[in-house]
Amino acid sequence: MATITLHNLTFSYPEAVAPILDQVNLTFASGQFTLLTGPSGTGKSTLLKLMTGLLSLPANQGSISFNQTNLAAIVPTDRAAQVALMFQNPNQQFAMDTVENELIFALENRQLPPQQMPQRLTAALDFVGISHLRHRHLNHLSGGEKQKVALAVIVAMDSDVILLDEPFASVDPTARASLLRRLVRLRDEAGKTIILADHDLTDYEPLIDNVVRITAEHTLAIVPQVQQPALFQAFNQRVSTHTTWPTPTSGTPLFQLKQVTLQQAQHQLLEPTDLTIYQHQTTLITGPNGSGKSTLFEALVRLQAFSGQLTYLGNDIQKLKRKAYARQVALLFQDAETQFLNITVAEELAQCQKYAYGDYFTPAHIDAALQQLNLAGHQDQVIYTLSEGQKKKLQILLMLIMQSPVLLLDEPLKGLDLASINALVQLLQTTLAATQQTLIIISHQLTGLTPLIDCHLRFDQHQLQYQEVT
């Protein structure tokens, strides 16, 4: 059990003009589940890293205390007993090769006697429901599975306070619900204090005790009980929409799959499949984590081996010239940083303008888009210092400027708040109307996205087929 007190906490990054957190005073009560919310780029990650001690707080900038003990005064080896953090990016939180070895690594760090480890390990894996992943390689797991492993590590380490930084950004609804159930049990049965940062508030209402918001003044405010329903309302609408999408039957075939199979390591992802994806239709692909959606995209851009035949506008993609094909079909990577080639925002924009395949994006258009996406004024910033949400928005803008005839978007809404999503979907709609590009979108999150979609493919149980509902 631990109460966390923030006292006059102020923090600014060396390169920033204004502090990202300014005179924050707040107490997180012990044994409660608090939802921390606020637009992307407002300092949620920074706050959580400060609370974990991963970022150190300069002297005279306030204090963070766990049960009245200043975090800075807690011996580093005891910190993990106090607080653990689950990261936003599932790919970057493990040091070892397999699930079991990662758990052992964490328990060794906590100096648990070796004879207690097997029992603790089994219990943690059982608690999260992933005993079957025990001997798997972390590199071969999907985003959702990795987040479950990350939670298992935290459970095994038995930290009093569990912090989660947008943990569900790349997790499907089923896995998300399962993780949330576990967190609630950790609070109710083990008395853990849980602070979870998220901007997508779907499903949280019945689970949480408090909502804390990052305000425009760079401080934290508790959202009073009476105002909470309004906050959740915007997200509940998605549950009540019953959109159906027709199965397309006519049109120009863009991609044709003939007996295509996909495999990862020894794992079959897609059974032999025949399918047509049509031109000038926006196709949405949904499916649980690890079903193989991203692998399918990688196969479409020839970054992943497959068997069978895949044609683009009637040509076998294996026989097309790599360079020419890349100008036709571009992929928006799930990890925004993968897309960047330069250092500053302005350099990236200039590069895209230089190599763009169309002239829809004039400098004026780009400025307007930057305004719309709330990215104006960041032109001289180093891309890698942008927040995850800002990176994502910039990445999408860059790939839109390129105007490749086909754009595959892998989780384009990942890590974005509602305002950003709306701005982005609007930008996509106006751009599509002018450029006639074809989009294929993988997304778990459908809030705000539905107006764009023409048809829907479901990837589940090694099958990929058209479905009218999600």
Binding site: K49, T52, G53, L54, P76, T77, R79, A80, A84, L85, F87, N89, Q92, Q93, F94, A95, M96, D97, N101, E102, I104, F105, A106, L107, E108, N109, R110, Q111, P113, P114, M117, N139, V153, M157, V301, R302, L303, R322, K323, A326, R327, A330, L331, F333, E337, T338, Q339, F340, L341, Q351, C352, K354, Y355, A356, Y357, Y384, L398, M399, M402, S404
Partner: protein, 219 residues
């Protein structure tokens, strides 16, 4: 066998054959290595690769020495030829039968290397396949933006280095968040011990090597 002792023995052997000119000794080491690998269930195909891959550099060294060498050209040419194979096969007895995790455990527990070093090496090793894929992805990302990043393009390397720095920072944070503290005491689940047997094998190996170098009158 304790991997660190095995590594030590192999280093001694490698050092010694670098300074000796006994063809039969090199051949004997290759034969011993093949027997060892065979006992550890190494596939025939792997063994065949080990024979084929070093052939080109071995022939290169042989011909250089045979054509341009001084002194006993034929002897030196064959010494170098067999030495390459001795290096490759004795090296393979380590790389093909030892798990990097066991080596890290031995270095940390038996030789008291800083755990930061042991786990840093391990983590870097685990990243290798990811890095290979990443280079492919970076080049594809370039093409999609209309830019061809060739293997001599500075942008490719800049990007790869940037990605690596970023990964290493994230890795450090990940390790810290899983309770890792530099130089702090840790417990060990996989116990790595240096047994008397290991010392005996090391001793016998080194003695055997000296006999091979100085005592047996090889021809």
């Amino acid at each position: 066998m304790n991997p660190s002792i095995k590594l030590l023995l192999l280093l001694v052997i490698a050092l010694e054959i670098s300074f000796t000119m006994i063809i039969s000794l090199n051949v004997a080491l290759v034969v011993l290595a093949i027997i060892y690998l065979g006992l550890h269930g190494t596939k025939l195909k792997t063994l065949a690769w080990l024979l084929v891959v070093p052939l080109l550099p071995a022939i290169g060294l042989w011909s250089t020495q045979y054509i341009n060498g001084s002194g006993d050209k034929t002897l030196m040419a064959w010494v170098l030829f067999t030495r390459i194979y001795a290096f490759v096969f004795t090296g393979a007895t380590f790389t093909l039968t030892t798990n990097i995790l066991q080596l890290a455990d031995a270095l940390e527990q038996n030789w008291h290397l800083p755990s930061k070093f042991a786990y840093g090496v391990l983590a870097a090793y685990n990243l290798v396949p990811k890095i290979q894929h990443e280079v492919k992805v970076i080049r594809a990302a370039g093409l999609m933006r209309g830019q061809q990043l060739s293997f001599w393009s500075p942008q490719l390397y800049f990007k790869a280095i940037l990605v690596s720095i970023n990964w290493s920072q994230n890795l450090a944070q990940a390790m810290a968040s899983h309770g890792f503290v530099e130089d702090a005491p840790r417990t060990h689940y996989r116990h790595s011990a240096v047994h008397a047997r290991d010392w005996i094998i090391l001793g016998l190996g080194i003695i055997g090597m000296q006999i091979g170098v100085f005592v047996i009158p090889w021809h």
